[in-house]
């Protein structure tokens, strides 16, 4: 199909949440792995490039096609099986890549699955579900994200402070390779011998290769380029590979047991420094007033002064935000924590100590919101989610004046001891360039989303330049240029600040082992070889 004609009919499939628009000539919506294989084989023979899509909620434009063919996996949306390891009390689900996070959560909350195509073992496993409530811990804000997308960009979310990222909960993958052959990998099955790996496909083909030499940053959250480590589990190479090595056709995820007690506390501090000190106390890096805080939050989140101001303005002027919780003008910066436990009393004992710490840090324990029931917890979640929503709404309205302007949000993380440096860098950069920006996000993992809200094209360009400068500085701090959104196509220039040309070439070499013609998600993570001059 001609590109223009395609855009008319399938326009929505040329975009994702990054607000970038691409082009393509054809699209398929496979309902099974066999249908993926047949489509891939056809394209392989014709040497046509393929872009894989899930729910298109990604922020780095991985799913935006650059010519060629689209394989959209939204119709592969079944949970296909379950497994219970009784000895270890571990529970696993097998899902197709198009299952949405919101759908998965609904299945788990109701403990109800569509099982008529399941084998007996899977149906039996479900019976064990009755004994406890299980949940999937990866929690990106966007719940309409697909499981394939979550695996492809190694997504995480607020609770990653306690539970880690998607990688930590993926125990099996089926991957359709560029030539239509299939790799089935279970965690623990293929371990690299130092930097030499060897995999066997379903057709019996042996794929051997050498791992790159580059070192990944020492940060808690990272999805910047291919996972690489001597002696690594080879399943980790495919998680976070942004669809550049193969097409994920099935994922086995491990679930976690829900703890009965779930609290949230929003703490308003008088300035940014005391908020950061509070975070450090919560991470047990510093001890305040000899208070032995044992609290282990599952999430530690941050709202900058400007983020709170933005919420306050929207609350007063925009009816969509009039229901978010009111707060005093004197509240400067906020930290939000979530706590999971089996006992309310245990949590309360720690919260009492937390109150004393807040007071000692020149805060006031009365300037807090405590939520220990579902209704109030939802209010705190709404408050947290209002931040990105406010930003998106503002960007959408600015876009009406100039449609070249897109969202400018960072996704960088730094090592623990560089948190203060990174915050200083962000604040100075914003101030020096006289930009309007809000900072919020996963401060527990030193992973803040800085969102610049450009008022015009000039500010947009300034913001983009600033991001490149930050990427370089973050890399120098030993940080990661992408912590949870993936590199996609948008952050290709950022990755170059983190790895040198040779190291990027090593990634390209690795891709070619699995996709010699480079037809899969070309231009994602790094440029296509012939494009790069």
């Amino acid at each position: 199909m001609d590109e223009n004609e395609f855009a008319k009919i399938y326009g929505e499939y040329l975009r994702d949440e990054s607000r970038q628009v691409g082009n393509a000539e054809s699209i398929v919506f496979p309902k099974s792995e066999a249908e993926i294989i047949s489509s891939v084989k056809e394209m392989f023979e014709k040497n046509i490039q393929i872009t894989t899509q899930g729910a298109r909620t990604g922020l780095a434009a991985s799913a935006v096609p650059h010519n060629g063919h689209i394989i959209n996996l939204s119709k592969m949306n079944k949970v296909t099986g379950a497994r219970y390891d009784e000895k270890a009390d571990r529970f696993f689900l097998t899902v197709q890549p198009g299952v949405l996070l919101s759908e998965l959560r609904k299945y788990l909350a109701n403990k109800s699955f569509i099982v008529h195509e399941w084998d007996d073992k899977s149906i039996n496993a479900i019976n064990y579900m009755e004994k406890a409530q299980w949940f999937y811990s990866t929690d990106p804000t966007e719940t309409s994200a697909s499981m394939g997308g979550i695996a492809s960009c190694n997504a995480s979310g607020a609770k990653s402070y306690r539970y880690g990222s998607a990688r930590d909960h993926i125990t099996g993958l089926r991957i359709v390779l560029a030539d239509g052959d299939v790799l089935s990998i279970k965690r623990g099955q293929f371990i690299a011998d130092d930097n030499i790996f060897s995999l066997i496909t379903e057709s019996g083909r042996v794929i051997k290769g050498e791992l790159p030499k580059y070192k990944m940053p020492d940060v808690k959250k990272n999805t910047s380029g291919y996972f690489n480590m001597p002696g690594m589990d080879m399943i980790d190479l495919f998680i976070g590979s942004d669809g550049t090595l193969g097409i994920i056709s099935e994922i086995e995820i491990e679930l976690n047991k829900t703890q009965e007690v779930n609290w949230g506390v929003t703490i308003f501090m008088p300035d940014e420094d005391s908020a950061v000190d509070l975070v450090r106390a919560l991470r047990h890096e510093i001890i305040i007033d000899n208070i032995d805080l044992q609290l282990n939050p599952s999430a530690i989140e941050f709202f900058s002064h400007n983020a709170l101001n933005m919420l306050k303005n929207q609350q007063a002027t925009n009816s969509a935000f009039s229901n978010i919780q009111e707060f005093k003008d004197s509240y400067h910066t906020a930290v939000y924590i979530e706590i999971e436990s089996d006992s309310n009393d245990e949590v309360w004992a720690e919260i009492e100590k937390l109150g004393d710490i807040i007071n000692a840090l020149s805060g006031d324990e009365d300037n807090t919101w405590v939520a220990y029931n579902t209704i109030n917890l939802e209010k705190l979640h709404d408050f947290r989610h209002a931040c990105p929503e406010c930003v998106n709404m503002q960007i959408d309205s600015i876009k009406k004046t100039d449609n070249r302007i897109t969202k400018l949000g960072t996704d960088m993380s730094v090592p623990d001891n560089k948190l203060k440096d990174a915050m200083k860098m962000y604040n100075e950069g914003i101030e020096e360039n006289n930009l309007n920006a809000v900072i919020f996000g996963h401060i527990g993992n030193n992973h803040l989303h800085v969102n610049i809200i450009p008022q015009n094209m000039d500010e947009y360009e300034k913001g983009k330049e600033l991001f490149l400068i930050w990427a370089e500085k973050v890399a120098a701090m030993g940080g990661a240029v992408s912590a949870e959104h993936g590199v996609g196509k948008l952050k290709v220039p950022f990755l170059k600040k983190m790895y040198n040309k040779e190291e990027i070439n090593e990634m390209r070499k690795l891709k070619k082992i699995f996709d010699s013609a480079q037809i899969l998600n070309r231009g994602t993570i790094f440029e296509f070889e012939e494009d790069e001059k």
Partner: protein, 263 residues
């Protein structure tokens, strides 16, 4: 000023499950919460207190576990919690509840204002507020969305109606019931929770209020619930799939068919 808030504990869910045999609400594994409308009553009282230096009582009739709910009310800045709990109060309808609460209020003594939520989310009758005012013989106004002024022994406020607002003046002591438009309830803080954890909740038994047994509990309740059930919703969802154009085509066909059905 002395302000009394009447508070009820209700199940914290919209999906009430009924026991098909006993026709009663299944309360196991359902979080118990403060009736959401009562939160607006609490917040309004606390706002008056912060302006005028009033004292706020939280009064409830319920099972002994409701002490925790009153503690929660204290964490929302209510000054004192009083729980009327006794087997003789059990099974009360709105009339017997109003009677019992009026006796509890008599025990508190003098007061200026009683604030109730517009209704409870489990019974939805909206009767207890007005009925309580009648039993006490004081003025009342329902569905209040704003308190305009409290001066001397007079209070003026806005009542929300189907057509707009009515400005109402009442002589104190009076009772008002409030709607959710009136304010945004605050959340507990660590400090207010510390206060609440230490607070003493006063327990009031049937004997202490010198009540008439024939007017309280099941005995004093002319209302008999013959049957309760959860309404069945027969909604069939159909997902329309395809490209935008295909979806629009299918949707228009469905809508056109609906019109034929009506004809």
């Amino acid at each position: 000023m002395k302000i009394i808030i009447c508070i009820k504990q209700v199940p914290g869910t919209n999906e009430v499950k009924m026991d098909p045999i006993t026709n009663t609400i299944i309360r196991e594994n359902v979080e118990a919460i403060i009736n959401p409308f009562d939160l607006y009553a609490i917040e309004e009282a606390v706002r008056i207190k912060e302006k005028t230096g009033s004292f706020v009582y939280g009064l409830s009739m319920g099972i002994p576990d409701a002490t925790e709910m009153l503690r929660e009310a204290i964490s929302l800045r209510v000054d004192k919690g009083i729980l009327m709990t006794d087997r003789k109060f059990a099974g009360a309808d709105t009339l017997a509840t109003s009677y019992a609460l009026s006796k509890g209020i008599e025990k508190i003594g003098e007061y200026d204002l009683i604030i109730c939520g517009k209704q409870a989310t489990d019974g939805d009758t909206a009767q207890v507020g007005p009925s309580l005012a009648n039993t006490l013989g004081i003025a009342y106004a329902t569905d209040i969305s704003k308190i305009l002024e409290i001066k001397h022994n007079k209070m003026s406020c806005l009542k929300i109606t189907d057509d707009g607002y009515e400005e109402i003046s009442v002589l104190l002591p009076a009772l008002i019931t409030v709607v959710k438009e009136i304010n945004m309830p605050r959340l507990p803080s660590i400090k207010s929770m510390k206060t609440a954890k230490k607070a003493e909740i006063e327990i009031v038994t049937f004997e202490e209020i010198n009540a008439d047994e024939n007017r309280a509990g099941l005995k004093g309740s002319p209302t008999q619930v013959r049957k309760t059930f959860v309404p069945v919703h027969n909604v069939n969802n159909e997902m329309i799939e395809g490209t935008s154009e295909e979806k629009a085509q299918k949707l228009s066909e469905i809508l056109l068919n609906l019109r034929t059905d009506v004809n």
